[in-house]
């Protein structure tokens, strides 16, 4: 899922400078799973903001809503008419959701409450780790199911580098060396031939932004 992390409260408050009526808008999908922007987190943040503003003697109305997803227009239908009552919408969705909200409400100030960080998995309760960089040219078939673009900070397709040590990464002793992991995984499967050949350079054109995908069923040409 997409994993995000709530911005520091000071930064959020600085965005709300001069606002008197704020809607904190949560998202019930990815950011709810990673406990950053779901209904619970909306409640907590809204409470914090109310208390902080009260402490500062500021009269700010902070209200809450959470919709199923902010990356699909239809889910905004339930709150469309409410939005005009607020100066600002503080969206706790990922960057995609924030932008959709901003597009749907161009006359409102729409602000991000999270830093969207990565595509990842839940390692265990409360812990999420990055697994995928959405490089549009997946090479997991060559690397035993371990992504060097993500797990290796340098994104090497022919690794390891000279900084690897005892299976840990040059960047941090807490990080595993992706290429040592890949080597061990393929060794265990008897498939080291996969990485003995020189892997060609990554095609970065595949990642040129912004990208659009149209499902084949929705393309208009003749079959």
């Amino acid at each position: 899922m997409i994993v995000g992390h709530r911005k520091p409260l000071e930064e959020i408050k600085s965005y709300l400078d001069g606002c008197e009526r704020v809607l904190v808008l949560g998202c019930g999908t990815c950011v709810a799973v990673c406990m950053a922007g779901g209904e619970k987190e909306v409640q907590l943040l809204a409470s914090q903001l109310r208390m902080a503003f009260k402490e500062e003697g500021k009269e700010v109305l902070v209200e809450e809503e959470t919709i199923q997803r902010q990356c699909d227009r239809e889910y905004f239908d339930t709150i469309k008419n409410k939005v005009e009552h607020y100066d600002a919408v503080l969206s706790l969705a990922c960057g995609a959701g924030v932008q959709m909200a901003a597009e749907l409400f161009p006359k409102r100030v729409v602000l991000p409450g999270l830093n969207t960080t990565f595509i990842g998995v839940a390692e265990k309760e409360g812990v999420w780790s990055e697994k995928c960089r959405a490089c549009a040219s997946c090479l997991l078939a060559e690397t035993g199911g371990i992504c060097p673009i993500t797990i290796c900070p340098k994104g090497l397709v022919n690794g390891p580098c000279g900084g690897t040590n005892h299976g840990k990464c040059e960047v941090s002793k807490e990080k595993d060396c992706a290429w040592t992991l890949i080597y061990r995984r393929l060794e265990g499967q008897g498939r080291l031939d996969k990485i003995r050949e020189i892997q060609p350079a990554k095609n970065y054109k595949a990642q040129t932004t912004p990208a659009t995908i149209v499902h084949a069923a929705y393309m208009e040409e003749e079959a």
Partner: protein, 64 residues
């Protein structure tokens, strides 16, 4: 109309695995239009004869 889109998509899927997309077709008619139906059957029969047996026929133990 949604069915048209999905028939078109399925033709692409057939093409991907090397099966001629013309083997699948959608015809618009109501249940009372018998001549149109007969024409559609004739058309598909003609196509089947022209294209020959399905590439999958007899290839596996559980033939299609």
């Amino acid at each position: 109309m949604r069915a048209k889109r999905w028939v078109r998509f399925t033709k692409k899927l057939l093409k991907e695995i090397g099966i001629e997309p013309e083997r699948l077709e959608m015809f618009n008619m109501s249940s009372s239009m018998a001549p149109a139906f007969a024409e559609a059957v004739r058309e598909m029969t003609r196509r089947a004869e022209e294209l020959g047996p399905s590439p999958l026929k007899g290839k596996t133990k559980n033939a299609a």
